[in-house]
């Protein structure tokens, strides 16, 4: 360290360090003086300021946008609900007595009220703590009458979401609730009400509106002295849905009267507008709007029937015989058969050493494609399964919209899966066996699809091959009248050979006219469609379990359809859980179609006859597959 100049250097350094120290000491002295002035000289002023720290913001909640159906009927609106709240600061030392009296006059549980208030003790004392959401008129009157005995208790009016009383289209509308921590943004603050499911969630940005507020100065007794700021809330945008309320009611009513759970979707195959969309069992979104009690919420999410699940988009099932439509299109388009190609059905067929049964034990005899669709002949489609590679089937299923997601504007859509060789290798690390293709040919095995994907598939058959994106939004009022929402992106049309398409449509019409879907037949209207069954468990397993489980093991029933046959304007899918027979879905469709045409032609809407005749339970042996 004894380089030349080191000593001088060190001297210099020490001088600068002294400068540093002096600077710091001076700064700290100045700070001490500043705090002396604030805390000692100006103490009185700031103490009063702190005690009178009674600036108060009152949030004015914006009403959410009103939802209309396609004909302008109001579906979801807002009502003024009363909310009883406690402002701790005003109750001050008598808070305890106030809470006791408040519970007594309103008849609510005192312990619950106390717990509620205690939970929010850490908030500023001037913030109203909502104690009774959605208070009854009697409660409001009781509180108003005793205002003097209840200092700090205030009645506020808040716009609250109001859904149809019967839970109509609950899954479609969804529900609203307080924003979760993950949903908070610059616009969505703690405690904000946002859409949590369905349309409320997907179009929350349109529907939400902007809350307003009032900034008040109040004295220490809570009396308003001055209003510093007043911002009116801005209503959410009005939104028109593609739904037809009459069809929606008809669909849900048909499910209830027939006593089934399940789902259904009716749409316009020309543009993908969803006319009705139901999932049963349902729930009452109004209960969410006023803040649901925890016990109720637990009961809802714990319900084994899963009423919160939107079955039209959530849940995948084997398409069963409805998949024969895809098989027929694939075989025709690939040139494997012509519409007139016929095969002999003897009631079963032996392929690769295994015997595969037809749905009719005695056999259908010689059938061509139209008849095969009409009677849902398994043997005919086993034969197609022999002739088509699984990847070809996958390709056609994809072209018809059965693979992946449809992009419907309802949250939570599941993915539909049609197997391919690559898929099986990736999923099970196993090669594809030709026998696998035979199950796929009748929509069993690895094939699982959502109802909404089925709706898109049948719409493509109905419109000549265009893949529509099912959607529920039609128009938005941004303040300058209705503006239609741009048509959703559609995949370029699949060029389906008109002759082949006509043959398939014929077969589907025959199925309703005089085949497996007879019970959907509506005289004077050419409905075409195809039934199908999704097995809950395999037949062998069902036998093994017979009488040993309380689980409902009856099969699910499908029906995909469109009408009128030659110029389709409505298409869709109905899925009935545990319908036992694939025909269980057909009367539901019949009723909705009846309503559709009646409305179109200006006839009175049909009433559904009370309890439909008990559906004969077919034995598993002659199940359609």
């Amino acid at each position: 360290m004894l380089n030349p100049g080191a000593y001088e250097d060190r001297q210099n350094l020490q001088v600068r360090l002294v400068g540093f120290r002096v600077g710091i000491v001076v700064l700290f002295l100045l700070l001490a003086v500043a705090f002396w002035m604030l805390q000692v000289l100006q103490y009185q002023r700031y103490r009063e300021r702190a005690e009178n720290n009674h600036m108060r913001t009152i949030e004015l909640r914006a009403p959410r946008g009103v939802l209309f159906d396609r004909h302008g009927e109001v579906l979801v609106q807002n009502r003024r609900a009363f909310r009883i709240a406690v402002v701790r600061e005003q109750s001050a030392t008598v808070l305890d007595d106030v809470l006791t009296r408040l519970s007594a006059v309103t008849g609510v549980d005192e312990a619950a009220v106390r717990a509620l208030v205690k939970r929010r003790m850490s908030e500023p004392a001037f913030m109203p703590i909502p104690v009774i959401e959605n208070a009854s008129d009697a409660q409001v009157a009781a509180v108003m009458a005793r205002a003097l005995e209840l200092p700090g208790v205030v009645v506020e009016q808040v716009p609250t979401r109001s859904y149809p009383a019967d839970g109509l289209a609950a899954h479609l509308f969804g529900y609203v609730g307080e924003a979760q921590p993950s949903q908070l943004t610059d616009d969505i603050l703690l405690g904000a009400i946002v859409g949590q499911a369905g349309v409320e969630r997907v179009y929350d940005n349109l529907l939400r509106g902007e809350n307003g507020n009032r900034l008040l100065v109040v004295n220490s007794r809570g009396r308003e002295i001055e209003e510093l700021q007043h911002e009116e809330p801005v209503d959410g945008k009005r939104v028109q849905l593609t739904i037809d309320a009459d069809l929606q009611r008809a669909l849900e009513e048909a499910f209830h009267i027939n006593g089934f759970n399940g789902s259904g979707m009716f749409l316009d195959p020309r543009n993908g507008e969803i006319l009705a969309m139901a999932s049963v069992p349902s729930y009452d979104p109004n209960e969410f709007a006023v803040g649901m009690e925890n016990a109720k919420w637990q009961a809802l999410i714990g319900d084994p029937l899963k009423p919160l699940r939107n079955r039209t988009v959530q849940g995948t099932y084997a398409p069963g015989s409805t998949f024969k439509i895809v098989m027929a299109m694939a075989a025709l388009e690939e040139g494997v058969i012509t519409p007139d190609t016929s095969f002999h059905c003897a009631g079963s067929k032996t392929i690769y050493g295994n015997s595969f049964a037809c749905n009719k034990p005695g056999g259908h005899g010689r059938v061509n494609l139209r008849q095969a669709l009409q009677y849902s002949c398994n043997v005919y489609f086993y034969t197609l399964g022999e002739k088509l590679a699984v990847d070809t089937i996958h390709k056609w299923a994809d072209r018809l919209g059965l693979v992946g997601r449809t992009g419907v504007d309802v949250p939570g859509e599941d993915e539909s899966v049609i197997p391919s060789e690559a898929w099986k290798r990736q999923r099970f690390n196993e090669r594809w066996y030709p026998g696998d293709t035979i199950s796929v040919a009748i929509g069993q095995g690895y094939v699982t699809v959502t109802p909404v994907a089925q709706a898109r598939m049948i719409a493509a058959i109905a419109n000549g091959g265009t893949l529509i994106t099912p959607h529920v939004i039609r128009a938005v009022d941004q303040g300058a009248g209705w503006q239609s929402v741009p048509t959703h992106t559609t995949v370029p049309p699949v060029s389906l050979n008109p002759e082949m398409l006509a043959a398939v449509r014929d077969g589907l019409w025959l199925a309703v006219d005089s085949g497996t879907a007879r019970r959907a037949k509506l005289d004077g209207y050419d409905i075409a469609g195809k039934t199908g069954t999704a097995q809950v468990i395999s037949l062998d397993a069902a036998k093994a379990l017979a009488g040993r489980t309380t689980r409902d093991l009856r099969h699910h029933g499908w029906f995909v359809f469109f009408a009128p046959k030659d110029n389709p304007e409505v298409a869709g899918v109905v899925f009935v859980e545990h319908g036992a027979s694939s025909g269980a879905a057909t009367p539901i469709v019949r009723h909705v179609m009846d309503t559709y045409f009646a409305k179109k032609e200006g006839r009175p809407l049909p009433k559904l006859a009370p309890p439909a005749p008990k559906i004969p339970v077919t034995t598993p042996g002659d199940q359609q597959r």
Binding site: L31, F35, Q39, R47, S122, E123
Partner: protein, 367 residues
């Protein structure tokens, strides 16, 4: 050689004790202001801060036990790692309130920018100390500016202007000690004044402009930016001579004062313990700074002295700025009070910095 047992008796216990005391006072204040009445327990922030203490002490021990010269010699490497981390955080950082500042480590998150000052102090100490450069030529000054400019720019991009700005005192402290001529200070100030319109127009985000405007006239915006400044003064002023008492404060506890456990923890202390508490804590901070400067004075070599001054400059700047802000005398800026404010990374980095200061003093007799 990592630890030579002979150096341990030279550990500066009074400095360590004062640093520990400030940390404890900070914890107690956070405990008080985050108290959750409903749960009848301190808030989660308190516990998170508690967990940062042992981590910080380990970091302190680490920075103490390795000879600071060993670290200084590897400072280029440390610097590169720091730059890599700052670039990484821009791409993989977690977005909180619109800024990418944290890296999620799975068991907790880390704010690399908090450690930038230590890295920069090491590099600059090595450069000006070992290289015998004196901070008088423009080339020397520019090089140092580049060293802090790069991480400062990366932190600015997060965006976190406050933390980026704290790199500047490290640089200024070291070049001052290295013999910076006052002429350059004058020129620097002049350039700053000339550039300020450009910085105002292109360099500042709207919210930052808002803070400056509000500082000059808080009543313009009594709800937004001005609110904090007004309420800070009310909080401090209402404390009086002896304060309202532990856990008796109303301003922070009832959320009149935002960020009470964080940037404004000192105001809460002033409210609950009054002018008396303020003087005690100011005294502790002053003691810590002066005692640290003594380590610079006693340092065996220039590297040690420069390293200490680099760290102390940052510490002193942040302490003085933050406390000035509590008194309503500086614009509200997201700058925490070292050792006392809520923030795990900040506490760990600060304790690590004191590890280095203790290190220099402890090894003043070794060769």
């Amino acid at each position: 050689m990592i630890v030579d047992r002979r150096v341990l008796p030279h550990l500066d216990w009074p400095l360590l004790a004062a640093v520990t005391a400030l940390t404890a006072i900070g914890l107690a204040t956070i405990y008080s202001v985050t108290w959750n009445i409903a749960a009848d327990a301190p808030g989660s922030e308190f516990w998170r801060q508690m967990y940062a203490v042992p981590v910080g002490l380990v970091a302190l021990a680490f920075c103490l036990l390795i000879d600071y010269r060993t670290l200084a010699q590897r400072s280029a490497l440390i610097y590169l790692a720091l730059i890599a981390a700052l670039i990484g955080v821009l791409f993989f950082g977690v977005v909180v309130k619109g800024a990418r500042r944290w890296i999620d480590l799975g068991f907790g998150s880390l704010q690399p920018s908090e450690f930038a000052r230590i890295g920069v102090a090491l590099v600059l100490a090595m450069w000006y100390g070992d290289g015998r450069r004196n901070g008088r030529s423009l080339a020397d000054l520019t090089w140092g500016a580049v060293v802090i400019g790069l991480p400062a720019m990366l932190i600015f991009l997060q965006p976190d202007l406050g933390t980026a700005a704290t790199l500047v005192p490290v640089y200024l402290g070291i070049v001052y000690l290295a013999g910076l001529r006052l002429k350059w200070v004058g020129i620097g100030l002049l350039v700053l004044v000339l550039l300020s319109p450009a910085i105002w127009t292109w360099g500042l985000q709207d919210y930052q402009k808002g803070r400056v405007i509000t500082f000059l006239n808080p009543e313009l915006d009594p709800r937004g930016n001005g609110w904090q400044q007004i309420q800070a003064k009310v909080t401090v002023g209402s404390g009086g001579l002896f304060g309202k008492g532990f856990r008796q404060g109303t301003q922070g506890a009832y959320r009149f004062l935002p960020e009470a456990h964080n940037d404004f923890v000192f105001a809460v202390l002033a409210e609950e313990h009054g002018f008396f508490g303020v003087i005690v804590v100011l005294g502790l901070y002053l003691f810590v700074i002066l005692r640290s400067l003594e380590a610079a004075k006693l340092a065996k070599d220039r590297v040690g002295a420069f390293l200490v001054v680099g760290i102390v400059s940052w510490f002193a700047f942040q302490v003085v700025y933050n406390i000035t802000m509590q008194a309503g005398l500086a614009p509200v800026k997201g700058l925490t009070l070292p050792l006392m404010s809520y923030g795990g990374s900040s506490l760990v980095a600060t304790l690590a910095g004191f590890g280095l200061i203790l290190n220099v003093r402890m090894r003043r007799f070794t060769n």
